[in-house]
């Protein structure tokens, strides 16, 4: 069973996490429908 992806929804928070965890950020623009 695949884990659900824990998406962030705030750019500033995601960039801070990226810096702290030494990771790049995947930004997905989606159609909310």
């Amino acid at each position: 069973m695949a884990q659900a992806i824990p998406w962030e929804n705030d750019l500033t928070k995601a960039l801070a996490r990226g810096k702290a965890e030494h990771k790049t950020v995947l930004l997905d623009f989606f159609n909310p429908g």
Partner: protein, 149 residues
């Protein structure tokens, strides 16, 4: 993406382990900042918020993971971290050699090797690999001048 690609175990594990996933609706102000007009649009950012890679349109699980690895490699490449970029490009090419991202990875691996070593043979090697494996790709055409080295 929600129906097929993101529920795939390899995809979700890769994203959780290797990236910080951020999801924003296309009608948000951020979409205007990034000039996004269609979905899905996936953008790879460094932790300063600078864009290094973008795809528009659906990607299957078999194509998304190598595309994400390419984005990680391009982030290092653009930052001048050529040895780290080579590691990412090698990971892509060893794991997903027939993916759509592979020809660009060969091209950028060759450039990275050249930038790290100043050995022009790295560029010629990239050209030869592209000609042998991906002769119809745009990256084979872009590498054509290296055949003269």
């Amino acid at each position: 993406m929600d129906a097929v690609t993101y529920p795939d175990m390899q995809v979700s594990n890769f994203i959780i382990d290797k990236l910080v996933p951020l999801r924003v609706p296309v009608d948000s102000p951020l979409a205007g900042d990034f000039k996004v007009t269609w979905t899905p649009t996936l953008v790879t950012l460094d932790f300063y918020g600078k864009e290094h890679h973008r795809t528009v349109g659906f990607l299957s699980p078999e194509e998304l993971v190598p595309s994400l690895i390419l984005g990680m490699g391009k982030t290092d490449f653009d930052s001048g971290d050529f040895n780290d970029a080579i590691v990412h490009f090698n990971t892509l090419l060893n794991g997903y050699p027939r993916s759509a991202a592979a020809p660009e990875a060969i091209f950028l691996r060759g450039v990275s090797r050249y930038k790290a070593s100043h050995d022009a043979g790295a560029l010629k090697d990239a050209y030869q690999q592209l000609q042998a494996g991906y002769p119809e790709s745009e990256w084979a055409k872009r590498a054509h001048p290296y055949s003269l080295l």
